[in-house]
Symmetry: C2
Subunit: 324 residues, 2 copies
DNA sequence: TAAAACAAAAACAACGTTGTTATTTTGAAA
DNA sequence: TTTCAAAATAACAACGTTGTTTTTGTTTTA
């Protein structure tokens, strides 16, 4: 392992000069600097993060608590965040350990901040940590500053938009078991929207999907189509479900939007990969990631940030919805 | 941030005594030790990994280069490996950066070893690294020591087993595009098996799945069932595809094994979650993870390990296959 | 031409920990 | 009690780096 001392010896200068040269300090003469940098490259020098963070008390690293490997929902997010942080010279490290173990690890490594994704949507325990924690989930009296996309509002917005163009028989497809707080928010939002804009929720306007994968959407939709009182519009709880729904409608030769209008949650780039445009509701992916990145930088700088950062969803209506 | 010096002050001893006490050294008197440990807990002390690894030149950490896509297959693996390493007091950290950036990061952090998952199955570049690298993929003149599960052999084994009980019309379902080296190995193995045990491969014995998810298996199988010359046995390239195949067979009221026998690749625990037992071929998950863990420990200890560690698949035939 | 001012480089201290060496305390044996 | 070994603790050096201070060398100024 080559250190600045090795470089110093090779260059015939003191190691502190090497340190300065490599950090491009004005305190060392340009020719010397150049010579040192060349030698460093030749030797394949890699600065030792341990030594550096020991003295500077900064690691330029963000730890991400990634409790589940089932990362479908969050995969696009973390990829984006990783890229943004990288361009800001931060390194992202993930831990798939249990929350407390992951936080311990990150504390030992003195990461500059911890980003916590949580499966259930909320955090029930308070974990001791010396490094600041930002959470992504549901901002309801959270134990840590939390970035939240307002899923409830998104669903209300979807109902409102459909109601405004004359739809009365609207159905929501998604996880309605209430086990996942994130999903439950969508259900609640849908119900609230129905009450507010259409007076009531019929019991057949909730289409339960057994899971959140494409096939679950397909199955659930087929089942619903076999029942009477076909809805004129569908609000889908996720991108994957939407894929399944579209497949089911195609199979039954039902036209979007002539037979059924459709709005999908998940404002992600992949939404543009369908063979026809689909109306979208949700906070755009870039906005979520940008917000998280900025919040991380803020808590690193010890700036005060609001305990609840709630993002407002947008709706992009297009030809997948028709007036009736 | 509380350090051993803070503890020393609180306990009225020197900091070196604290260090020894916390590492449970016999050099400090039991009562003193106890007192120090209590104080450390009270203060919420977390050892500083930077300082520790700086002096010990060990970080007790394994860095994992995690591919951005195609994680389904590897998810079960990494969870297991993480658990095993944790029980050995190693921490696992994942990076989803580009390979070179990830390796750089891990070098700066002086992880003890790097485990490299690679999407395409093989690594084309040699990345400079001071810490030893183990790769998981295809062991064909690999640039790094590589753990490989012999997918080709697995498929041959499956064909052989089916041929032995009288099957002649056997089909393989999977990714046959050749883009993914890992998948291609299965195709090659299947073809070799067919040549060796059944003289020939018919052209309709390869069922192309557009992807590797459940729905892809479903779609591909349905399509194949609409064509003539129904196979008497199916070899499925992955767990997810198998799910789809079963669904398709159910839908068409075809019985396993009376109408079609089936063997699935992926020797993972989830295989037991089907409503009927399915024959499995592949290297058991625990064996793969155990092998990887041991190889990691070996390269950390600078033991010589073979450049190619190839694991031999097993087959578990059960009532999902019938003689004809 | 000596003093002052400045530039460049070297030396030093510190970060928190561990392992080694030195010192103090304890408890026997004399 | 004094003496000495063993046990317990304290002090020190080192790990690789950065920021600060000191030294050395080179100009400028009077």
């Amino acid at each position: 392992m080559v250190t600045i001392k090795d470089i110093a010896k090779a260059a015939g200068v003191s190691y502190s000069t090497v340190s300065k040269a490599l950090r491009d300090s004005p305190l060392v003469k340009p020719p010397t600097k150049k010579r040192i940098v060349t030698i460093a490259n030749d030797l394949g020098y890699q600065p030792n993060a341990a030594a550096r963070s020991l003295v500077s008390k900064k690691s330029n690293t963000i730890g991400v608590v990634w409790p589940t490997v089932e990362r479908t929902a969050h995969a696009a997010l973390i990829t984006n965040i990783n890229e943004q942080l990288e361009s800001l010279d931060y390194t992202t490290l993930l831990s798939i350990n249990k929350i407390d173990a992951a936080i311990n690890t990150f504390n030992r490594f003195q990461v500059d901040a911890i980003l916590m994704f949580n499966e259930k949507g909320y955090i029930e325990n308070h974990y001791p940590s010396n490094v600041p924690i930002l959470s992504y989930g549901i901002a309801k009296d959270p134990l840590y500053p939390t970035v939240d996309v307002n899923r409830r509002e998104a669903m209300k917005l979807a109902v409102k938009s459909l109601a405004e163009i004359g739809h009365k028989n609207i159905a929501f497809i998604g996880d309605i078991t209430g086990k996942d707080q994130l999903q439950e928010e969508k259900v609640v939002g849908f119900k609230e929207g129905m009450k507010e804009y259409l007076q009531d929720v019929q019991k057949d306007s909730l289409i339960p999907a057994p899971g959140l994968e494409m096939y679950d959407g397909y199955l659930a939709m087929i089942k619903r189509l076999n029942e009477p009182n076909r809805p004129t519009a569908i609000i889908s709880g996720s991108y994957d479900l939407t894929k399944g729904v579209i497949r089911a409608l195609n199979e039954r030769n039902l036209s979007i939007p002539n037979d059924i209008s459709i709005i999908s949650y998940d404002n992600i780039p992949q939404m543009n990969t369908f063979d026809r445009p689909i109306s979208i509701v949700g906070v755009p992916n870039e906005i979520i990631t940008k917000t998280i990145t900025n919040a991380l930088l803020d808590i690193i700088d010890k700036k005060e940030i609001p305990n609840e950062i709630i993002l407002t969803p947008e709706i992009k209506m297009n030809e997948s919805c028709i007036s009736i």
